[in-house]
Amino acid sequence: MDRTCLRLWQREGSLSVNTVKNNDDSDMATDRLKHSGPEIQAPSSVVRQSSLKLSRLRRFVALGIIMLFLLQFVRIKILVGGLGGSVAVWFVKILDVFAYTESLTASGDFTLAAFGAVVPVLGMYLILGRAFCGWVCPMDFLFEVIGKTGRKPRKTPNISPVWGYAVVGSFLIASGVMGVPVFTNYFSHLTNFFRFLTGTVSFGLGFPVEPEVIVFSGGTIAALLVLEYFFPRFWCRGLCPIGRIYGLFNKVSLLRLAFTEGVCGECSLCDQQCYMGVKIARNIDRSSLRDVNCIYCGRCAEGCATKGKIVSLRFWR
């Protein structure tokens, strides 16, 4: 489908049949639109506003959480630690699911204390699915910044989630064999992001810091950013074990991608907007989609020509 045409659609905010008419491949879409014409003329501005809010809200949440973590450096203890493991408001311990799994495999010792720390996370993502990736993970934000550096649009090679499960499996085996939580301790972007922050800030405050800590952690993050530059979201889609584990939550979570029937123009705007490579348009006949790669960023809903009428993030149903 013609791109400019789609743009026009988007800008005008209304799906007049005339706009689409010139396009040959869109016969079917036009047909559908004809059927449900009146509904489409619905006041799109309202929906549009709310979906824009979603995108902003997402950044607000991610940066807000990082800000709360930054407060620990000025000795305000709301969130202490990092996203791998932390303590909220003095007593609520929080532990990332994959970090916990690795720690458990490495030590072979189940304790209620540690399990108690994953429970809040399990509970949260049983409701929200893989929303961690889209709403909390600092890399999502950094990757977006990289995306804005004006790099040429590149195609991310398709990578099956199976690779991710292989990564999960091999790190768990390595942890078990070596008796060290290998990924979380050495390579995790969550650990390294906050280790880098802590290291740099301590250094800035004049405390002795081992320089390797800053270099190694900064280097790991930089490597991921370079990967992002050349293969957008290759890491998130395929390799990241943390995301893979949260992806499993998508299968049972309350939050899901929901579709409303009958008004889709099959323009694939949603697919173009999704940087996680979820195939939305072709699943539109279902009532909802539970893709392990969906991070509930809501860009599909925002991008949808109907401004979120067809695709939306929804609890229940």
């Binding site: 620990q72 000795r75 493991g85 690795e102 720690s103 490495a106 072979g108 540690a114 060290v180 320089p211």
Partner: protein, 279 residues
């Protein structure tokens, strides 16, 4: 890491033969050295110890044994309440909660280990205790999300063991100081004092929890105390105890030679390293 302390012991063993007082200690050490050293080397050492059993008076200056140059090096001192090292390593995910809790508490005692020991990378360890001892506020153990640090009573903490270097301590070299005992949060249950003509000699017993406060408050430049891990302590304990006894039992002449010939010059030299004392 495992090699260095043993080497130190070996050297110290060699020196002790000159004293000829505690020949059994010397023999024991030499025997231990025998296992590790080449046959020739240890045979020579044995020969040396046999010779030195005759009552040669110690020379002043170079030849005199400074008791205990055995301080082990290496090994990480963990925050209080850490599980035994292997379990600790398996559980800790380098989340940084303990590091930052300590920062919030304004002690800044915990830092993340670098790549010196790749296995320990990212795990928390106590910084140089001369500047950043653990104040035993006991905040971090309760907050570790993985349980690598476990809530513990203050008295039962076992981070390490403080060893006083008798050749550097003012109290063991003709003075009264006792700053360390005043700084120690455990006080009387840990410090034994041996008053004598050579000073008010403090001795830290096995109840030490290894927090390092004494290390910080020792007025000697660079501190006369070092906290070593409990494991390292087990290795040198025998000799450490024997050396303290030996010093206390030592007759005036000999002790005089050691204090004036060797220790005081060292102390004076160290005393100039005041870069950190009163920050």
């Amino acid at each position: 890491m495992s090699d260095k302390p043993r080497q130190r012991v070996r050297e110290a063993g060699g020196k002790h033969q000159a004293l000829g007082l505690f020949a059994d200690t010397a023999m024991q050490i030499t025997r231990r050295a025998f296992l590790g050293l080449s046959v020739t080397g240890s045979a020579l050492a044995l020969f040396g110890s046999a010779v030195s059993c005759s009552d040669q008076p110690p020379d002043s200056g170079e030849g005199v044994a400074g008791p205990l140059s055995i301080f082990p090096v290496g090994g990480s001192i963990r925050p209080p309440g850490a599980l035994p090292e292997k379990q600790f390593r398996a559980k800790c995910i380098s989340c940084g909660v303990c590091v930052n809790v300590c920062h919030v508490m304004k002690y800044d005692a915990v830092a993340v280990a670098g790549l010196k020991d790749i296995r320990n990378f990212g795990t928390p360890q106590i910084r140089d205790m001369r500047d950043f001892p653990c104040a035993l506020c006991m905040e971090c153990p309760g907050q570790c999300p993985t349980g690598a640090l476990k809530k513990t009573e203050k008295e039962k903490v076992s981070m390490g063991m403080a060893l006083i270097d008798f050749s550097l301590c003012f109290g063991w070299n003709g003075d009264v100081c006792l700053s360390c005992s005043k700084a120690c949060p455990m006080g009387g249950s840990i410090f034994d004092f041996y008053n004598g003509e050579w000073g008010n000699q403090p001795y830290i017993n096995d109840n030490c929890v290894g927090c390092g406060l004494c290390v910080k408050y020792c007025p000697l430049g660079g501190s006369a105390i070092k906290v070593v891990t409990k494991k390292q302590y087990e290795r040198v304990k025998g000799q450490y105890v024997a050396d303290s006894r030996k010093l206390m039992a030592m007759q005036g002449e000999q002790r005089y030679a050691i204090v004036y010939g060797q220790n005081l010059p060292q102390i004076m030299a160290k005393g100039r390293l005041v870069e950190r004392e009163y920050r």
